[in-house]
Amino acid sequence: MSTPQAAAGWLRAWGRAALFAAAAAAAALSLSAYTARTRTLAMRQIYFNAWHVLPGFTVFMTLLSWVVIQITISLARDYGLAQFALELVFRAVVLELIPLLTAFYVALRSGAAIVTEVAMMRVSGGLDELLSAHIDPYEREFVPRIAATAVSVFALTIVSCTVVMFVAYLVTYGANPSGFAEFSRTVARVFGPWALTGLVVKCLAFGAVVAGIPIAAGLDATRDPESAPDAVMGGMVRLFVTLALIELISLAVKYV
């Protein structure tokens, strides 16, 4: 495949993803999308994306953050910068690392499954059957999944961040409650209204793209079974790029 053709195909794929996002947003605003069937589907998606993985994911995040925070605090103390260590942990780990890792985790676990499933529906003709039965796949299948994935990423991020903040307190002050005042001052300094709003918006954006981009990529597949691997690969790459882009924009807005 020559380079201009590849670039054109790449642009077309991004264009289709953008069109899908607009269509999904329009469907989400439609009242007919909120039925008992779609609610059940969303609950199922939340169960598999969040509840099912919550214990293991929380333990994993606790261990990872424990190591990262321990290294950060120890190094800061060695360099005589202990007063800045907790703020650095909050800004780097709680506000940036945990949400991004959560989004990647859900993307790898559910995004890959979603893009494969949608691609296989295209190959098997399942989507065409829905359209011929006058059933809108956006309202019935796509929007509940996107909304459920966004809620799942948000829930996993909030729970993980809370656990990580407990870990940060324990690593910094031990089980001594006298560090609470200083801890609160650092929390006040870092978690201002804009930081909290930014965190919520970023989590919801992560959740929306983790479901939306794989579905849009799955729709790129054709009746040809060989198109499915291409659709899955393209979808996962676009998902990775989009997640990284959201993180980059978030950092730029906050610190640049």
């Binding site: 199922r44 509840w51 829930a155």
Partner: protein, 317 residues
């Protein structure tokens, strides 16, 4: 798409998902409340405005510390109309007791990290700082001081290098000290070190010996002089006699002076008589003057009337 792989779907799906969502929103709401509490939203505060030349290093959320404890937080930084920075700080009412009217505020910038705003209260008995108070702030910037300090240090080090280098004054002083020490420990000791060479030291020793001999002869001379001056028939005795004779001469002189006084009194009476005679002479002179004027008038009259009067005028042709 209704089948999720091989994972079975539990019967109480709705409850579990509801529990998860409820837990998530409770944690989120709790965290937001905690963040608001930490930011002091639920406690009464008072405002303090610090006016500074500039607000470099000062950022929102920065602490105002007193004795190392944060007692306030920067809420707003703005530029006033006069070009100075206004740093507005919220201080909780419970911590405002540390701030008094005499409190001094400083903004310090260290080498590492941001600026620090500190409050120093000398006397906690002073009246408390009122709400909305505006105070100037003193700035201390380590980063600004470093170049000046390095320049001073460099010139100091150069001076030290010049002093201690080869040919430097400290080296020369040490060499001189060593030579002096060697002379002190030499044959003539400290005298040799003071005079610089042994020849002069020998001269000084010889001079001292001659001075000793001179002193011995001087003591004999003094004994003889003492005898001549204070002994019988000496200078002192002769002088006493001369003084007695002078006293007698002075008595005679006093008698002579008394006689001179009498002569002077007589002369004074003679002078009084002469003064009276002089007054009579004045009257006589006045009469003579009047007679002369009359004779003069008579002569002028005769001249006027005399036919061969001389014409004193000169008639020009």
């Amino acid at each position: 798409m209704e089948r999720e792989g091989f994972t079975p779907i539990p019967k109480n799906l709705q409850f579990r998902v509801g529990l998860l969502l409820g837990l998530t929103f409770m944690v989120a709401a709790g965290f937001i409340l905690y963040a608001l509490y930490a930011r002091g939203v639920f406690e009464a505060t008072q405002r303090l405005t610090l006016v500074s030349e500039n607000a470099e290093g000062v950022s929102l959320g920065m602490d105002l510390s007193f004795s190392g404890f944060p007692i306030g937080r920067v809420e707003r930084i703005s530029l006033a109309d006069d070009g100075r920075a206004r740093i507005e700080i919220e201080v909780p009412r419970k911590d405002a007791k540390w701030l008094r009217t005499s409190t001094i505020f400083t903004v310090e910038r260290g080498i590492v990290g941001g600026a620090r705003i500190r409050a120093f209260t000398g006397n906690l008995q002073d009246p408390p700082l009122p709400d909305g108070a505006e105070r100037p702030v003193l700035r201390g910037d380590t980063q600004e001081e470093i170049p000046r300090m390095v320049a001073t240090l460099r010139s100091t080090l150069e001076n030290i290098e010049q002093l201690t280098g080869p040919g430097g004054s400290i080296q020369a002083s040490l060499a001189n000290l060593r030579a002096a020490t060697e002379r002190v420990s030499g044959r003539h000791g400290a005298l040799g070190a003071v005079l610089g060479n042994d020849e002069d030291a020998k001269k000084v020793v010889a001079a001292i010996e001659r001075a000793n001999a001179l002193l011995a002869s001087m003591s004999g001379f003094v004994a003889k002089t003492d005898q001549r001056v204070l002994g019988p028939g000496g200078v002192v005795e002769g002088t006493q006699r001369a003084v007695e004779q002078a006293n007698a001469i002075l008595g005679e002189l006093r008698e002579s002076l008394k006689r001179v006084d009498k002569i002077l009194a007589d002369a004074q009476s003679v002078a009084g008589n002469a003064k009276a005679a002089t007054q009579d002479l004045g009257a006589l002179r006045a009469e003579v003057d009047a007679s002369l004027r009359k004779v003069n008038g008579l002569i002028e009259e005769i001249n006027r009337k005399w036919p061969f009067q001389r014409d004193s005028e000169i008639h020009l042709p």
